[in-house]
Symmetry: D2
Subunit: 160 residues, 4 copies
Amino acid sequence: MFIRFITTGGTIDKIYFDDLSQYEVGESQIQHILHEGLVVFDYEVVPLLHKDSLEVTDEDRAILRDYIKSDDAERFVVTHGTDTMPDTADALAGLAGKTIVLTGALTPARFKATDAMFNVGMAVAAAQVASPGVYIAMNGRVFEAGHVRKNRAENRFEST
Amino acid sequence: MFIRFITTGGTIDKIYFDDLSQYEVGESQIQHILHEGLVVFDYEVVPLLHKDSLEVTDEDRAILRDYIKSDDAERFVVTHGTDTMPDTADALAGLAGKTIVLTGALTPARFKATDAMFNVGMAVAAAQVASPGVYIAMNGRVFEAGHVRKNRAENRFEST
Amino acid sequence: MFIRFITTGGTIDKIYFDDLSQYEVGESQIQHILHEGLVVFDYEVVPLLHKDSLEVTDEDRAILRDYIKSDDAERFVVTHGTDTMPDTADALAGLAGKTIVLTGALTPARFKATDAMFNVGMAVAAAQVASPGVYIAMNGRVFEAGHVRKNRAENRFEST
Amino acid sequence: MFIRFITTGGTIDKIYFDDLSQYEVGESQIQHILHEGLVVFDYEVVPLLHKDSLEVTDEDRAILRDYIKSDDAERFVVTHGTDTMPDTADALAGLAGKTIVLTGALTPARFKATDAMFNVGMAVAAAQVASPGVYIAMNGRVFEAGHVRKNRAENRFEST
């Protein structure tokens, strides 16, 4: 089994710089998470974007879609900021033979308490078990694209 | 969606007592992991056993099978010691309409670096995505029961 | 032995809110750190301020000084933001019979990798071992007030 | 400032091997702790022993004493198992001009919740602030050698 990981930024990869009290997207945590998860399957990580999800544009989504379409892999895990994750999921619909799972985190992976590792574990399982299609793995659920939104007031994903 | 979690002991729940340098199975870490994973689905945790997996008997497996068979739930995550996890998976085969995922950890959940959270994330995703059957979620893979073994020399699970 | 802990905010207590990508001072982590450090001495925690250290004013420093001066305790640990920690230390000079140690963190205590616990350990030791006076415990050093500055370019404290 | 760290084993460095459910002394965690503590002083780490403290012999203590006596350094932090830490402290008494602080952990440094980092922080501060002599830094206290014991029933250190 082979999984292609594509990172685009978002809270999962956020880091903190003390001097300016900024909080920016840092290097991807996915390698660290997979290492700690003791995974033994084949994979490659492609850092495609490096953005807060509110800054992800339609053009970015077209690039991501083209990348997945032209790639030989059949299973993809895309790490993405949470605010527009459902929009990006929608933009990836209809790619035959591809199982695509978007995930991310509501709390940065560098925190002691973070959902990042749990979410990536879900995404990895869904990418190998689910039928071709586009999914979002967040809050313990594997949602189908087009049937999920982020409830910002409650800071969690839910079915629509 | 509802998932029944059944805990049976194993490394995932191990704790350490200083005085006697012992390392024993402690209270289940599953609630803590699900809390950190920010899950929003309905679930209940049933602590059925409290054993190293080398001590799990055929009678224990029969009790576990009967529990799952008579329970109304359709999705189960069973935390279990790794050494005999494939044996217990085999003993749960053939329960119609039940999706059962066994998981655990090669390193205790209380460690800084542990595969526990990743594995439970995988199991939760597989329990809701996979067809009815029995699976083992370890080392980044969702294996079907009967086609997986623990390679003790390498300390990882692999297909057979 | 009794130590009075006074919290004033700063990076050590920072938390992260996803929706607005803000990073704000949260509830004090000192209780959690002392609990994890398995301390057995008597102590009380007083949350006096809740500020980034760049926002701490001379009036705040006067309030802190008055608090310590009028308090019966002889040993104090003050958690404080790093940018103006030396200024606050200077403002506490000359209180007879009081051992005052300021500390904080360059990385929030909620991070997996953080200097918070190490620094509070240093401060607790210095508060009980050092002669009356004002000290800063950061970067593995116990500096005397008036002989220390934060090197912002290197993001560390150094002697002057 | 220079500190010589001498590691001798004990719970602070314990690791866990799954196959045999053993719990053995692993490589020293001191480098990792000092790195996470962002220390900037000069130091060297000498791994002298690799033992549970119940196995430390009078001969081991004589070797440790000779090492410290003949070393140019004036400040020492010795990591040690907790059960016989007071005995080793006693054996190091009377070395003129040497400030020696023993510390360790009641919970392994590899655990999520551990007193290791707090304790090493205390020891580092005491080694630079305290007068020459032998001390034990545990449970938030800096005890003088000869006036401290481990209360095994309560699993903590206390004054005698």
